[in-house]
């Protein structure tokens, strides 16, 4: 079995603080891999190491077998590793459609001459991208919002727009940082369905999520981080009853 994403004894230190230590994880092809753990466990730091936002202190990150440790974030994204952000990072003064088109940035390859003279190649490519951007918006149920400013969308819609922006890039693996955080129960249900449909398309999904019910419902694998270390990993139903996991979440029993 080849792992889509793989880390090898990954460690990350900020000064004297060990944000991550000895994290070795294998994210299987076509899996929907959830990463859970209490606040401050190092989940987002781990995502940042995977996507080139942080350079790990030691250890390696591999994507489809080749090493991507320390690669620039834009290069990692170009390989097909796409992410969303915990605090949602939309481009507020661009329209929803343009936000999604920006996600397809690397698929727009027209040269400058073609762009300046609106050559047929450029027109064809932009039309295709517009169609696909609209299809991505349709996929997350936001097609009717295409002409609104992203900054004007309510929270839940921004989350879905971020998903559409990731999808237009036809990523190999999608990393979602707390997709269901702060959304209403109705929106949570919609998001859960969208995530499952992304997975059903054959895209590998890695998600950080606090909502344990959601994780148990859709994840195929679960890894639990606590204090920057992996304390458990495996099938959702096994992890759920793991005593270390229960201790990390609920605290230690008093002696």
């Amino acid at each position: 079995m080849t792992a889509t994403l793989e880390t090898d004894h990954l460690a990350l230190q900020f000064g004297g603080v060990n944000a991550l230590s000895d994290v070795s994880i294998q994210i299987a092809e076509n899996s929907l891999h959830a990463i859970i753990g209490p606040n401050g466990a190092g989940k987002t730091s781990f995502f940042n190491c995977l996507t080139g936002y942080y350079r790990p202190t030691s250890g390696a990150v591999r994507f489809q077998g080749s090493e991507i440790t320390g690669l620039d974030a834009a290069k990692v994204a170009a390989l097909g590793v796409r992410r969303t952000f915990q605090n949602i990072r939309v481009f507020p003064k661009m329209s929803v459609l343009e936000n999604v088109l920006a996600g397809g940035h690397l698929r727009a390859t027209s040269n400058l001459v073609s762009i300046v003279f609106a050559g047929p190649g450029f027109r064809r490519q932009e039309r295709l991208l517009h169609d696909e951007a609209m299809a991505s918006l349709e996929f997350v149920g936001l097609a009717d919002q295409w002409n609104n400013l992203a900054g004007d969308l309510p929270y839940g819609m921004r989350k879905r727009m971020e998903l559409a922006r990731v999808l237009i890039a036809e990523p190999v693996v999608v990393l979602l940082d707390e997709p269901a955080a702060g959304v209403s129960s109705v929106e949570r249900e919609e998001l859960s369905q969208v995530i499952q449909r992304i997975h059903d398309r054959g895209t590998c999904v890695v998600m950080i999520e606090h909502d344990v019910d959601l994780v148990m419902e859709i994840a195929t694998d679960v890894t639990v981080l606590d204090n920057g270390r992996i304390i458990a990993s495996g099938l959702p139903q096994d992890v759920r009853v793991n005593p270390d996991v229960i201790r990390a979440y609920m605290g230690r029993e008093r002696k």
Partner: protein, 354 residues
């Protein structure tokens, strides 16, 4: 539905408002084209072509500040490079003005790369300080070099000749710069609706998130800087013959600031905004001439009032869209056609294709 509309789904929303808008644009351009026929007053024409020149510079800076969001306080440097290259080549080497544009562009682009490559990774305030320094350096070079004529500058720059036509009047330069404004505006608008424009706006809005789109932010910042330098130096190359004499005093910090002002007052990133902003910045001080000594004071007060009333500029990005929506909500239902309906089978979700 024409392909043009498919390219810009935000234009599909066909309404009376859009027809009116298009009419206004055409009327404005036609009126501007016939301005020299409406007045023979050389003073008015002089101010008008100075305004056009500032529009060209502001359109160049708009790519850097308006689109990519990098505050450049030394933009006059590229203007100076174009003007001096043309000035030197036409007086000392007897090049024609048109032929001297290209070397000016080459020098400007090379300087932009040299300055931009190490510094553009800096953010906001730091970048502003570095570019300000660059502007000062170019002015200092112009003052101290023999080839640039020192503090007196270069004079007796020959007139611009296009084929057998010699451009030697205010009217002539009015039309030269009129064409330049139109070309620069179209160029900016093409870039804006391409991957370049989107990448620049992403960088302006959120640089870290831009990287997650696969945008090589350092490259695109450099592109913005280079395109700005390109437009700045072409303007400079045509400014030299229009004024027939250039001196370092015209390319100082105050000129850079004037260009930034034009962009900010008009509306960052908005082509029409920038054009009107430049007109305001150039024409206001002339209108206030009756205040004599106090004219710049009145100008300053007017600018402050303007920024209080319209903090995002005269015509900010998408200003017309908001206005259109308001008009439509007052006069009946909106007729927004989704590009899905226009584009036929685009309604398929990506799911169906895989």
């Amino acid at each position: 539905m024409s392909t043009e509309n498919l390219l810009r789904p935000d234009r599909i929303n066909v309404s009376a408002f859009h027809v009116v808008r298009k009419g206004l644009v055409v009327a404005f351009v036609v009126a501007a084209a016939f301005l020299p026929q409406m007045t023979q007053n050389q003073y008015y024409l002089g101010v008008a072509f100075q305004a056009e020149m500032l529009m060209c510079l502001a359109l160049g800076l708009n790519i850097v500040v308006g689109y990519a969001g990098m505050l450049d306080l030394g933009f006059a440097a590229f203007f100076a490079i174009g003007a001096y290259t043309t000035g030197i080549l036409s007086t000392k080497e007897h090049w024609s003005i048109l032929a001297s544009i290209a070397p000016g562009v080459v020098v400007a682009v090379i300087s932009a790369l040299i300055i931009g490559f190490p510094t553009l990774r800096l953010r906001s305030d730091y970048l502003a300080v570095v570019t300000l320094g660059f502007g000062e350096i170019i002015q200092a070079i112009a003052i101290n070099l023999n080839q640039t004529g020192g503090p007196t500058g270069i004079y007796a720059i020959p007139a611009l000749t296009i084929g057998s036509v010699v451009v030697a009047s205010n009217t002539g330069y009015y039309y030269v710069f009129f064409v330049l404004v139109v070309v620069f505006a179209l160029f900016s608008s093409r870039l804006r609706s391409s991957r370049f424009g989107r990448a620049w706006l992403c960088i302006r809005e959120d640089e870290d998130a831009a990287k997650a789109m696969g945008i090589n932010t350092n490259h695109y910042k450099l592109y913005a800087y280079v395109f700005g330098a390109l437009l700045g130096s072409i303007t400079g190359s045509l400014y030299a013959p229009a004024l027939t004499a250039i001196s370092p005093a015209s390319f100082g910090f105050s000129e850079s600031l004037l260009i930034v002002m034009a962009v900010a007052i008009g509306g960052l990133g908005s082509i029409w905004g920038v054009i009107f902003g430049a007109a305001v910045v150039e024409i206001f001080p002339e209108v206030f001439r009756s205040f004599a000594q106090a004219r710049l004071l009145v100008f300053g007060v007017a600018l402050v009032i303007l920024m209080v009333l319209r903090p995002r500029g005269l015509f900010p990005e998408r200003a017309f869209r908001g206005l259109g929506a308001r008009i439509q909500s007052r006069f009946g239902p909106t007729h927004v056609t989704s590009p899905l309906q226009v584009a036929g089978d685009a309604g398929k979700s990506p799911l169906d294709e895989s």
